[in-house]
Symmetry: C2
Subunit: 114 residues, 2 copies
């Protein structure tokens, strides 16, 4: 959970794919593995990394382990990003762009790129 764990967890493309998938909805390991083209053991390992980074949490449903996103760590990422946002906001301002007035859910619904 050491913040560094957060970065290393998200450094892996497969894990980012898993995270993107879980944004849509919570899923058991099998589904995750299939959707991301991972072997079951590989999926379990990646989920372990994400779990230890605090990015996902598990709920046990019979033999299934249903994984879900935990918002907090991603929020931490956003906080890390904040100082830099000032930087590129300056760049956008230089172009005369103003997007800040957009409403709360101005972004596309679910599927993120990558």
């Amino acid at each position: 959970m050491s913040d560094s764990a957060l970065w290393t967890a998200l450094a892996d493309p497969h894990r980012r794919a898993v995270v993107a998938l879980l944004l849509e909805r919570s899923r058991p390991v099998g589904e995750i593995a299939e959707a991301c083209g991972l072997s079951q053991p590989s999926a379990s390992k990646h989920l372990k990394v994400l779990r230890e980074a605090g990015i996902v949490r598990v709920r046990q449903d019979a033999q299934r382990r249903v994984y879900a996103l935990d918002p907090a760590p991603i929020a931490a990422l956003d906080a890390w990003l904040a100082p830099y946002r000032r930087l590129w906001n300056r760049s956008l301002d230089a172009l005369g762009r103003r997007l800040d007035e957009a409403p709360d859910d101005s972004t596309e619904p679910s599927t993120p790129k990558d």
Copy 2:
């Protein structure tokens, strides 16, 4: 620059330290190395990774190479984050918090954590 390069570049704590340092102001390699407690070769190598990820750009000043942050990739990170922001905004909403009305530069000036 393959977006994956962005993540792997920022996955290293030293490189995040360099990035944080450059947020303050542009610096030549020597200064970066000293400030981050890196050997000169190590600093050069890390800067190379950051450069190839598009995170920093170089300006040559005599024998010096002055490195500066490039806002774009960090903006890309922010874009990646956007869909998730909806998620944890929901969490905050559940707490009845409303921070969206904060002005443009509502965040702390410079030095980020980590």
